[in-house]
Amino acid sequence: MLTLIRREIRDHIVYFIAAVVFSAILIALLTAAAYHFESSESAVFVGLSIPMLVILVLGFSAMGVTQMYLDRNRRISAFLSALPVTRSRILTARIVAGLLAILIVLVPLAIAAIILGRLIAPPIPIFAGYIADILTTIFLMVLACYCLGLLTGWTANKIAPTFGALGLNLVLVSLVFVKGFGPDIKFLLVLVIVACLIRTWHKFMSTSL
């Protein structure tokens, strides 16, 4: 399994490097916003972080699409399945690699948010709750878009995964911006993740390689 995860990471190393860069940018924006907490500049930094989040979401969706699309068109799984590997392991390794990339962005961001919260924000429990809510929703949103990418990427057609994933991602992101970070949106995102993973799993396990 570790070999398969290593292979996924190495094959999509660009996304992992981009994840590190994005994490650094988001931490910088968060720090800048926190240090200008009481001034009007804070809104500028918060405003800047929104397009960055959209790019982040689309980036992870693109990662899911790339993983599946390249596999199908370069017949990577067809080659791997002639080795002592099962399809379920190939797909599990792929999802683990995607999760790792997401965590590379979000774990440092979460740590930075907690530290900044302790240093700067007033000692009111509601702030800790906000941070947890926002980070959980961002995690679920990114994961949902990544899973949508996995689902739409398993095709030989180039247009379907590009526009299909893009459209669905924009719908999800808009929903989060409209509904906020409450439990209902989290529930919806979990539903999307579960549905996408089940469908991807079924497609990947049953189609010809």
Partner: protein, 298 residues
Amino acid sequence: MDDNVIKVENLVKYFDGRCVLDGINLTVPRGCIYGLLGRNGAGKTTIIRILLGTEPATRGRTLLLDTESTNLSPGIRGRIGCVAEGHNLIQNYRVNRIIKLCKDLALHWNDESFDHLIETFRLPMDRRVKDLSMGMRAQLNLSLAMAIDPELLILDDPTLGLDTVARRQFLELAIEVIQKQGRTILFCSHILSDVERIADRIGILAAGKLVVDCPLEQLKERVKKLRIIFPESPPENLYLTEIVNQQIHGREMTVTVANWNKQKQSILETFKPSSCTEIPMSLEDIFIECTRPGTEPV
């Protein structure tokens, strides 16, 4: 434990409503070198893909090493070496990376045998697979398949695109494997002389059916091509069963018959032919006769 390494039971496969495999039954015993033949699109690769679990069957059952193809565990897969048609390797990987990947995933890796093969083939380790020639890809694929000391080796048109020297090298290597006891090989190829050289059992696929499935020597014994000259025009019907093919040119009739025996010879003699001579048949001749449209199973 069953002594059949490969078992195919009533296998049916449809592609877009077109029947490609129509109730195939096939067994390959341990230690056998099975040559699976058929024209382009006959379904050879489909059988192999179904056996390896990369293609779902419409109906029927396939087993490799006593395990259903759909449930092949890594442990079972680790005992099977495979050279796929078109040498399906990851094209953008360098040779050394693909070797490392296969080595890391393998349950058993014979370094000595692998290094020997790589030295023999002189494969450039730092080149990308897509930059290798077809012959080099075949050699790399074969080396990877052999390095795991497979109990079962599945070769799908492995010599496709190879020059004569590379093909000879490949066959010698295959013979080397055969000499190691207990190894089973399923071998598909269009180069019938190659199959004739190494196979001890032959299966011929035609129109979705397995029209021949018997040992090579038995096949050559069973299928006879006769040139019969009659004093006058030949009879329309010879009343012989299992006629694979029949052609008439003037007083001459050429008949290919399966399961030729004394009884059939006596029936033929009742027509009082002027002469009856046997035309020697190579595997290629038998293949051509057996894959004509409308041929009955031999």
